[in-house]
Symmetry: C2
Subunit: 358 residues, 2 copies
DNA sequence: GGCCAGCGTCGAAGCGCTTCGACACCGCCG
DNA sequence: CGGCGGTGTCGAAGCGCTTCGACGCTGGCC
């Protein structure tokens, strides 16, 4: 055969010469001297292939640098091996946690041989419907779920498995996972109560978050108030602005009204730094005069000064488990409807025994 | 015909009854009474279809709730309509900016009818190769590019268009975009110099970032030093730790050594709050005694107290433009190799004229 | 020694879509 | 009044893969 590559059957025996993304399963089969389907079965393991044949095929795959075409695979197998991660578009909220979470999702998904499609909520329900109906993804992970979330009813009849991070008002028929924020609120209060504090306050998320009926904010508040009640101590729950100026105003007012306040639970990453910076300027040392417990990422708590006693939001753990749940649903396994992660309080330098009563 | 749906040709005239993700283009064609290919052309607009036919087809599509199957489309058209967004796995670095950026990318991509696959760097070059070779994505967006990035040479011969956020040491043959950090450094210094400051310092990224040879950190430093030189003022460039304690130590030491320091350029979101909080405790009011310019997101600058004069990193703009560049490359248009966005300094309350010399 | 049961492999039929060439039909010009 | 160039639609051939039924072969058993 002359060296003309444009004959009817070029026979392409020069792997390095052709574009690497044009190697098909047929090339591999030919190279290994087996049928096309045999290569497929080697790859999927859905039928037993003798070790000899398998090795021959695997060698050819490596030699040719074969990667299965995702589209073709999805079409034939009806599985895209992709899951959707739906993030809220809103900014300014717990961004580092979000990121940590997203990373955990991607990493875990890869362990299950899946990729992650990033979807923002701004397309709304229509976007979800599109993603699902087009078979772009096999399953859906929904973050930042609100109490009455527009997307939730849709999800119910979407015919694609999904897992929610956070709990909507009605979670029946859904799979949800989150930190147990009610318990988290309780844990914070119990810690403070145990240290002898009798009057505390919760500085929560910005008011807008409560107005939006975001579950975790309400649940934490409920937990704080319930535990305070149980322990017979006084607790005030307040939304908390994010800017340093807002925090200062809020604290000034709060301490003027309740001078014997000695404990603070802060659930607002963007404000906690300002809280720590402001308290001393109002004549309250942390932790000598006022103890502060934060619900925030560990990283944050470690870097603050003083280092914060905190209940971390286990973003990585939630991400991992959420993906695992979704994967189980993909293979049709039944999974629990609700998964609540137990909060764990880490004691650091921002809390101590309440000052002696006066 | 009796009401038995299990005949050989059920004729499926009951759209609400069948699973929504099983409507195919054939169903639409049948329902509209046209050929399958006509439906395709209506959807793609690649051939002229009469208004009458088009409307009939579009009506059927709406009625049946048809969504094209992504896998089949990708297979036949050799375009997945998905781009990869490769994020660094490292945490703790400029996380909010990253997020803002990612959001802009997703939103912009959607405007071009593309979706975004989230890829973390932890799979390394092999991951990139897999994504590209499997035709899962049409193009690649690479973030947080380092000076000598392992993934860059790979990208060069990957046969898929890509756009880098940030500049590697050698950017020939690639498409890169970023804020002009050199110029940003200059702009900060020029502002301070114009206010009469004669001795300033740059508190940069954490030392680890410099060690990693991250371009933007080095470029900013170079810009600061060059402009200082040009204006005949003294500038010290220091890496800056992220924790409040580290910042305090650094500032204490710095001010002890250079008591006549009156200007600070801070390029470290995680430290800037601590800087503002610490300076007053060291007897320096901001801006009366020390002026502070930050390179950080606007949102951040607005919330600080005092509000920060800053050069924002235009994450949204970078994201938008990066996607646009990639889209142009996808349709084979030629694009500039390097795009440098002009920095803009916003004057707020943290800078003022240098105190009278003594 | 002949038969049956696996085991391992193969061939072919789609999966749902795009796209190319073909081809009716229409009005117009010569 | 016949031929001609558009215009709008259709049919069919894949895209690369999975998967199902078929089938040859080897070995154990009666």
């Amino acid at each position: 055969m002359p060296a003309r590559p444009d004959g009817p059957t070029p026979a392409g025996d020069d792997p390095a010469a052709k574009p690497p993304d044009r190697v098909t399963i047929a090339d591999v089969a030919r190279h290994a001297g087996v049928a096309l389907s045999t290569v497929s079965y080697v790859l999927s393991g859905k039928r037993v292939i003798s070790a000899t044949t398998r090795n021959r095929v695997l060698t050819s795959i490596r030699l040719l640098g074969y990667h299965p075409n995702a589209g073709a695979r999805a079409l034939a197998s009806r599985r895209a091996n992709v899951i959707a991660l739906v993030l809220p578009l809103r900014t300014g909220m717990q961004v580092p946690v979000l990121m940590q979470f997203a990373m955990a999702v991607v990493t875990t998904a890869r362990q299950f041989d899946h990729d992650v499609l990033l979807v923002t909520a701004d397309e709304g329900p229509a976007g979800l419907r599109r993603i699902a109906a087009s078979a772009l993804v096999d399953g859906i992970l929904l973050m930042d779920v609100e109490m009455r979330d527009l997307r939730v009813p849709l999800l119910r009849d979407l015919a694609r498995p999904s897992v929610l991070i956070g709990f909507p008002a009605d979670s029946t028929g859904l799979t949800c996972i989150d930190l147990d924020f009610h318990r988290a609120g309780e844990v914070c209060v119990e810690h403070l109560a145990g240290l002898g504090h009798r009057r505390i306050a919760l500085l929560g998320a910005p008011a807008a978050v409560y107005d939006r009926d975001t579950g975790f904010a309400h649940r934490t508040r409920a937990g704080v108030l319930a535990a305070a009640d149980r322990h017979g101590i006084t607790a005030t729950a307040l939304p908390c602005p994010e800017g340093a100026a807002g925090v200062r105003a809020l604290l000034t007012d709060l301490l003027a009204r309740q001078p014997d306040l000695t404990g603070l639970v802060v659930q607002n990453e963007a404000a906690v730094g300002a809280v720590l910076a402001t308290l001393p300027t109002l004549g309250r040392r942390v932790p000598r005069d006022v103890s502060v417990v934060a619900i925030c990422p560990d990283q944050f708590a470690e870097q603050a000064s003083p280092r914060l006693t905190s209940v971390p939001v286990p973003a990585e753990e939630v991400g991992r488990q959420a993906v695992s749940l979704l994967m189980r649903k993909l293979v049709d396994a039944s999974v629990p409807e609700a998964t609540m992660l137990d909060p764990h309080l880490t004691v650091r330098d921002s809390t101590t025994a309440a000052p002696a009563r006066y």
